[in-house]
Amino acid sequence: MIEGILIGLSTALSLTNILMVMVGCFAGTIIGMLPGLGPMTAIALMIPITYGFDPSTGLILMAGVYYGAVFGGSTSSILLNAPGIPGTVATAFDGYPMAQQGKAGKALAIAAYSSFAGGTISAIFLLVAAPSLSKVSLAFRSPDYFALMILGLTAISAFSSKGQFLKAMMMVVLGLMLATVGQDSLSDITRFTFNNMNLTDGISFVLIVMATFAMSEALTIIFRGKDPNRAAKQISLTELGSIKVNKEETIKMAKTIPRSSILGFLIGVLPGAGATIASFLAYGMERNYVNEEEKQKFGKGSVHGLSAPETANNAACSGSFVPLLTLGIPGSGTTAVMLGALLGFGIQPGPRLYQTNPEIFWSVIMSMYIGMVVLLILNLPLIPYIARILAVPRNYLIPLILFFSVTGIYLMSFNNFDIFLMIGIAVVATFLRLYDFPMPPLILAFVLGGLMEETLRRSLLISDGSPNFLWDRPITLIILLITITIVCWQIFSTFRKKS
């Protein structure tokens, strides 16, 4: 293995490849910040460019783009409450309030440090345990995935409900209902389209997230007539962009990062919506770990609340390479595009890649780590400038948020039906937010809806329609028991408050 690591390191550290990582990180950050363009699009855009390169260089460029785009997505989440990809939705929960308090630079720096630390720990895991972890990836079956998704949805409802669990659960059901619009994945039967061709492909994630987060946030700001960034505007630009993290905050991050990294990496290894579930579960787990005083800060700019999803998100990104490189199974849309690129280079990922092309296997792993180092070095000096977005007056910032939201949708479909739909959903979401109906459960449910139906279908078909699949396997049973505990705890705490 040491030999492999050295081969990978020598390949990744060549001048051309370092240059490629830098270009990739920079381009990825810019593309990731643009609405509707996530890591998947960023990598897809790079594929034609990489055809002239040798496979290692091409993959190194793509690894840089990948991490850059994830960081870019976090930036728009923190500054504008406009997460472009599902994995950065949880980052906005505490990152956006922190930025509104005039700590935009600090929030971005915490996100960058946490991503880096999460990436570092997971890269070590990847180096040490990639081949053996592929077994974990295969051990998870449909019932376990279904139970894991139920757990994810229950956990997010519990921590984002602010004591109103039923409201959060209603939002989960609404999110799942929206996810069922369009063609059924197996039979191709159209559902809930009401003969409208524009709904046949379903509603896109970007549309839902832009409507419920970015656009509805902009409408809420106007509705309430208050500038939420007032605190950010009252301080100097230097202070706003300051990336200094004090000792207390560093200690908080140091406690959060290891546990979120492990959780993120392990969930990332499982094929499916890895980074999304990882970031939400890490946020929920962190909230349970901290003391009562810290718990109250969640959703209001908590360091733990920002660091946990960012760490887990990046750790899951590395974890998602395990099934890709060792089994040839892409665990997410982004790794599916990477698989396409690998096949384009004539490389077949799978158990034999480790033996047949060790330089590629190891150079991808090493370049991912180098990509993270470069990302940190490149982006830290830029943070003070990026943070200044919040100093833009409300009269300009709101139309620009609307512009980015609409452009994100228009770029995806080139029709105006989606824009009308987005405006409609945004108006409904604005009223729901006004009465404390939380949006994060709706988003997570929408993201997981398709996968949840698929795993439920498989589980029910295997068990011939019997619900036995819920307790047949120990993993499923344990996950379900955790879910039941969360629900019971919510009911108990509601009654305790009332009494």
């Binding site: 209902m177 106007i222 509705f223 709101i398 029910l460 078909l461």
Partner: protein, 156 residues
């Protein structure tokens, strides 16, 4: 009897769930799939029932934590303006193209939100959109349909 806004929203959600469930039961499935343990209507049916149960609980159970919103302090005028501008923008984007519609949308939004610095409003609309389009179309090679720019020969 006064119904709280939260309970009213829950009531609307109940109606939506009933409608969703009715539509779910009417999803046409293949004849051979009709009695399968899982078909295209199974998951939506579960969701419909879940929606009905949750919203019923919210309506029935007493509400201890109430969310009060003072409607007098809400700026309905600006929000209606902005939504109307957005709807007009969505209606014309395909006809007059991305560049003109987006620039006009931005300019009008700045105006209705109370901005009057005409120079800055212009720079942050027309040249800003042009630069953004160049980034997407010129540098990233992402196609943006624009009949107007095509007509005047700026875009191919």
């Amino acid at each position: 009897m006064r119904i709280s806004p939260t309970k009213f929203i829950s009531l609307l959600f109940f109606v939506l769930s009933v409608f969703y469930l009715y539509t779910a039961y009417n999803i046409q499935v293949f004849a051979f799939d009709e009695n399968a343990p899982f078909n295209a209507r199974t998951f939506p049916i579960y969701l419909g029932w879940a929606g009905i149960i949750l919203s019923s609980l919210k309506i029935i159970l007493p509400e201890k934590v109430t969310t009060e919103v003072n409607h007098k302090h809400l700026d309905y005028k600006s929000i209606i303006y902005l939504i109307v501008i957005s709807l007009i923008y969505a209606a014309v984007i395909l006809k007059i193209g991305y560049f003109i519609s987006t620039s006009l949308f931005l300019f009008a939004s700045y105006y209705f939100l109370g901005e009057r610095r005409w120079g800055l409003m212009f720079i942050l609309s027309f040249p800003f959109v042009a630069a953004f389009m160049y980034l997407l179309h010129g540098l990233l090679n992402i196609y943006l349909r624009d009949p107007f720019l095509k007509y005047i020969g700026v875009m191919g």
